[in-house]
């Protein structure tokens, strides 16, 4: 009997949380498309997300590209199919690795920072103060972050694509002794627009997930420093999980129909 009440309670909590997130999401979308727009806030978030995340994204995609080249080579050598390395690197990086790596890295960097900043604003009543100064917190705080996330993640991923492929090229040419020109020509010939586009669409979705959950957790944080800490952890963990789930769903949609 106790078990049943426990299960029931978990279910109720789950649907309550899902409902609250749903309302928050629809409010956010509404405020992203209705004026006033705070362009200065959007710009500063674009710099925060786009520019300052470049180093981590560049580093992770570089090494991801490198390790894929190495692993493909050792694996494919068994079937004497080493020539496929450049194509595998291309597909793996553009379709999966760059968007997922960038998504996870930005979730750790930006999602956490947003939850902490907005959470602190919540517990110190700064969000209340905003609304008393005739400024809608959704428009001033949340919409700019979400817009910047949707716009900037694809840019980061595009750069990550290039760097990741370059990482594969470095390993291919300097370690595995492929011919530099033919490696590049192979890559170029094999490239399909869909590989790149699917990665960029994924990136946009991830940008939305990261910023939305960062803002949601911060906005609803309770208590003092501890509440803000919990909000930060939740933002990163939930965004990371959702990124992996949506990555699968989007791959399914793009390549399996």
């Amino acid at each position: 009997m106790e078990f049943i009440t426990l299960v029931g309670r978990v279910f109720v909590h789950f649907f309550e949380a899902a409902g609250r997130l749903g309302i928050f999401t629809s409010k956010t979308i509404y405020h992203c498309f209705t004026p006033p727009f705070y362009f200065k806030q959007i710009l500063s978030q674009i710099i925060q997300i786009g520019f300052f995340s470049l180093p981590v994204v560049a580093l992770t995609t570089l090494f991801a590209g490198m390790v894929i080249a190495l692993q493909t080579y050792t694996g494919f050598a068994r079937f004497s199919a080493e020539g496929a390395v450049s194509m595998v690197v291309l597909v793996a990086v553009t379709r999966e690795l760059a968007p997922v790596m960038a998504g996870l890295m930005v979730a750790g960097r930006i999602g956490a920072a947003m939850a902490a900043e907005i959470g602190t604003m919540r517990v110190t009543e700064q969000i209340d103060a905003l609304s008393t100064l005739s400024t809608n917190p959704f428009k001033y705080l949340i919409a700019p972050r979400v817009i910047a996330g949707i716009l900037m993640l694809p840019v980061l991923v595009l750069i990550g694509d290039i760097i990741g492929i370059y990482g594969g090229y470095l390993i291919g040419v300097y370690k595995l002794d492929f011919n530099a020109t033919s490696y590049l020509v192979n890559t170029w010939d094999f490239m399909k627009p869909m590989d790149i586009i699917s990665g960029l669409v994924k990136a946009s979705v991830f940008g939305f997930i990261i910023t939305l959950l960062g803002c949601y957790n911060g906005f609803n944080s309770k208590g003092g420093a501890q509440g803000v800490g919990a909000a930060t952890t939740n933002a990163v963990v939930s965004a990371s999980i959702l990124i992996l789930i949506f990555n699968y769903i989007l791959t399914e949609l793009f390549f399996n129909t």
Binding site: E125, D128, A129, L133, S134
Partner: protein, 278 residues
């Protein structure tokens, strides 16, 4: 400043007409608010007339700040009506609140300064965002308001994090009055200030009400401050307003709760929960 003249004129007209005729600026009727099982407001009734300065007193944790937040729409009461300047706000939409709140200036108990902005930008925020004033113009007004709370131009460029508690409070006060609102809420304006600065702030509040014709609702524990700024004092106890009267009346009242509160005595009908078995 034309707005000042207008509100002065309005106040004079109000006075000539006799105050009874004009509806109250703020009217709370039977307001209830609980958090979970904890009942905080249990039928609050309060009227604040136009151009009047009302002080709310009451023990710590009785719901004074919650009352202000209900009026501002930051918290939603479960029951009751709150009318601000003729508009029902207790179940109003965000748009209506935004419109009503543009007439209200609020000093938060913890100052609630934006820590991503400098001091002067905090003060000028409402002017630049709400009233679409240019940065330069807003800067001058911010400096002027900061001077009124005893802070110089050197402070204006600091970050809020670099200020002392009392300085933060005064910046919050400057921000609350920056856009010359019709209604001003002060949540413990003199807490954490030295006696001299407290008196300067008291005078500033009085001048906002008397000279600018604003309506003020102030929360304070400081009876000296209450006597100085209040036209009317209301006492909140156990979720209700149990007593309302003028400063003169409060000295003579026989109400045991009020007497204990203004005497600051531990003995009386008000029992604070300080025993473990409470």
């Amino acid at each position: 400043m034309p707005t000042t003249q207008k509100s002065l004129l309005k106040r004079t007209v109000d006075l000539l007409k006799g105050k009874e005729e004009t509806p109250p600026m703020i009217k709370l009727t039977d307001v209830h608010k609980s958090f979970g099982k904890k009942v905080v407001l249990n039928g609050v009734n309060l009227e604040v007339q136009r151009g009047e300065s009302v002080v709310i007193i009451g023990g710590s944790g009785t719901g004074k700040s919650v009352t202000l937040k209900c009026i501002l729409g930051l918290l939603k009461p479960e029951k009751g009506s709150i009318i601000v300047d003729g508009t029902e706000v207790s179940d109003a939409s965000a748009k209506v609140h935004e419109q009503i709140n543009s007439k209200i200036g609020m000093l938060f108990q913890g100052a609630a300064l934006f820590d991503s902005m400098s001091v002067w930008e905090n003060v000028a925020f409402g002017l630049m965002q709400g009233k679409k004033m240019s940065r330069k113009e807003a800067y001058h007004i911010a400096i002027e308001k900061l001077a009124q709370v005893g802070l110089g131009e050197d402070v204006a460029h600091l970050d809020p994090a670099d200020l002392s508690g009392g300085m933060k409070k005064r910046v919050g006060l400057a921000r609350a009055i920056a856009s010359s609102p019709d209604i001003i809420f002060f949540d413990e304006p003199t807490t954490g200030l030295d006696p001299i600065m407290s008196d300067i702030i008291n005078e500033l509040i009085v001048s906002c009400v008397k000279k600018l014709g604003a309506t003020a609702l102030t929360i304070t524990h400081d009876m000296a401050s209450a006597r100085k700024i209040a036209d009317k004092i209301a006492m909140l106890y156990d979720g209700k307003i149990i007593w309302v009267g003028t400063v003169k009346e409060i000295e003579k009242t026989k109400n045991p709760y009020v007497r204990q509160f203004i005497a600051g005595s531990a003995n009386g009908p008000i029992q604070m929960a300080v025993k473990a078995d409470e």
